[in-house]
């Protein structure tokens, strides 16, 4: 099953193609503020690079975030409207899970970490990785990386982009972890999105393209402000 995977939740446009778990293409385009301008063109370039057209794609995978608010809106809108227009099944994949996929070959406990934009606030989640895949344990975490440190008890791998800075903070908060935790630098990969989406699609777990929405772990600043000050 050939699946197209995209993720624009960070400062890259990740576009990949996979046939089952075999990677056909995996490209990360630098995109700070212009992910919207580039993304459809990026998809076209990647498809052409392996002599495929959208018609030959059998499913679409979309990274749902969390991450840059504007970025995820663009990726999810493109993913769902491509699926709707080309009549392809679509599966949304949380970007924290996409990061965990980078450690899939190892049997490990993994914490994936994504910057939430403000100071040392992060989104995080815990996954158990094995050759058979990636499974989430527990709830999503949103808060200061300092508050994540005490939650880590056993040997783990921290995965994410710019992960070293978070590793430093965790060790500083909890020095006893120094020999127990390692870090793996990884960005969301389009091919990982495609592979994870392929598993979901094979299991019949496809999403309704019309109702597919980004994964927001934080309310918009405006909403937080309004609730805080009870503006009517």
């Amino acid at each position: 099953m050939i699946v197209l995977g995209i993720d624009t939740s960070g400062y890259i446009n990740a576009v990949g193609l996979a046939d089952g778990d075999r990677v056909l293409a995996d490209v990360a385009y630098s995109a700070r503020t212009d992910s919207m301008e580039q993304i459809v063109d990026n998809i076209d370039t990647v498809l052409k690079s392996v002599n495929l057209s959208l018609k030959e794609v059998q499913g679409i995978g979309v990274g749902l975030g969390p991450g840059s608010w504007t970025g995820i809106k663009v990726g999810v809108t493109v993913g769902k409207m491509l699926a709707f227009s080309a009549d392809k099944p679509v599966a949304g994949v949380p970007t924290l899970e996409v990061l965990a996929y980078a450690a899939r070959d190892k049997s490990l406990l993994v914490y994936t970490v994504i910057s939430a934009g403000v100071k040392d606030t992060v989104y995080a989640a815990r996954y158990r990785t094995s050759v058979s895949g990636v499974s989430q344990e527990g709830e999503y975490f949103t808060g200061s990386i300092k508050d994540l440190a005490p939650l880590i008890k056993e040997p783990v791998l921290l995965v994410g982009s710019d992960i070293k800075q978070y590793w430093d903070i965790v060790i500083k908060e909890n020095p006893s972890l120094k020999n127990k935790i390692k870090s793996l630098e990884a960005r969301p990969s389009g091919a990982a999105v495609a592979c994870l989406a392929a598993v979901r699609l094979k299991q019949g777990k496809q999403d309704d393209p019309l109702s597919l929405t980004p994964l927001y772990l934080k309310e918009s600043t405006a909403k937080v402000f309004i609730n805080k000050y009870k503006v009517k």
Partner: protein, 335 residues
Amino acid sequence: MLVLGIETSCDETSAALVADGKSILSSTIATQLDLLKKYGGVVPEVAARRHTELIGYVIKEALDKVGKTLDDVEAVAVTSRQGLIGCLMVGVAAAKSISYAKNIPLIGLHHIEGHIFANILSHPEMPFPHVCLTVSGGHNMLVYVQDKCRYEVLGTTLDDAAGEAFDKIAKFLGLDFPGGPVIDKLSKQGNPRAFNFPRPMLKSKSLDFSFSGLKTAVINMFKDKISRGEKLPLPDIAASFQEAVVDTLVAKTLRAVEMKDLKVVSVTGGVSANSRLRQVFKETCKKKGIKVFFPDLSLCTDNAAMIAAAGYARMVLGERSDLRLNVFPNAPLGG
């Protein structure tokens, strides 16, 4: 040519099917009135999130209503210029995806051009050239429309748009949102001459508008009355404020018409639904032998049918956008 129009520049998620730039087959508009009432205005990030949720449904409904599928659509037109950046992005991302998946032409348009076309859609007989007043919560412009897609901006707002002033005054008076229709209705019970509010920039030769000072004058008068413990005649305040806005809009528009030596006026945008504005325009224009046109009420506020119509006109001229079409929140209206 069947064109799918998409409009998400502010708080309305809209899709429409228009044939040959003339007949509206279907038009679907999902308003965010619940959010507007809750927050007393448009919150950009909240509006953009809602667009992401609604865009697919709105497009599907525009198709389903008339038994069409995307296979019947021959081109996609989308608002890509002027509006809230996050909101514009959702519409453009959707439009590009459809254009790419269906291999059909794409065209990005300026939101104000859409409003100009709302009246061309409503009145195909409306002659060119004409002067168009576009007036809503987000824009307030005088445009010399030489022909379809050929414009010269004569004036614009220096601060608040007229519709924005309506909303802010309504909010201040404790009235419902959006302020335009509420003030329109309340004014019918009030005396428009009860208070003499300023008619901003009427004495200047410029065709630009400014409604911020008028807004302040109303608010100061209101506060003054409260501090003296006087009764607040809300209908009179609403009617007098509305009259000041209407007088200003009509006078500036007629000055533009005289300057260009024309006899045709087009009034579009959300505020063009205001009943007093329509009445004063009709009376004044009749006296001067000027023809004035207003869009159907359904085409006054933001809608995708006007975008589809404008897109068709541009495509007839051979224009196309490519897959790298970007959004420009503050782009000027190009000719």
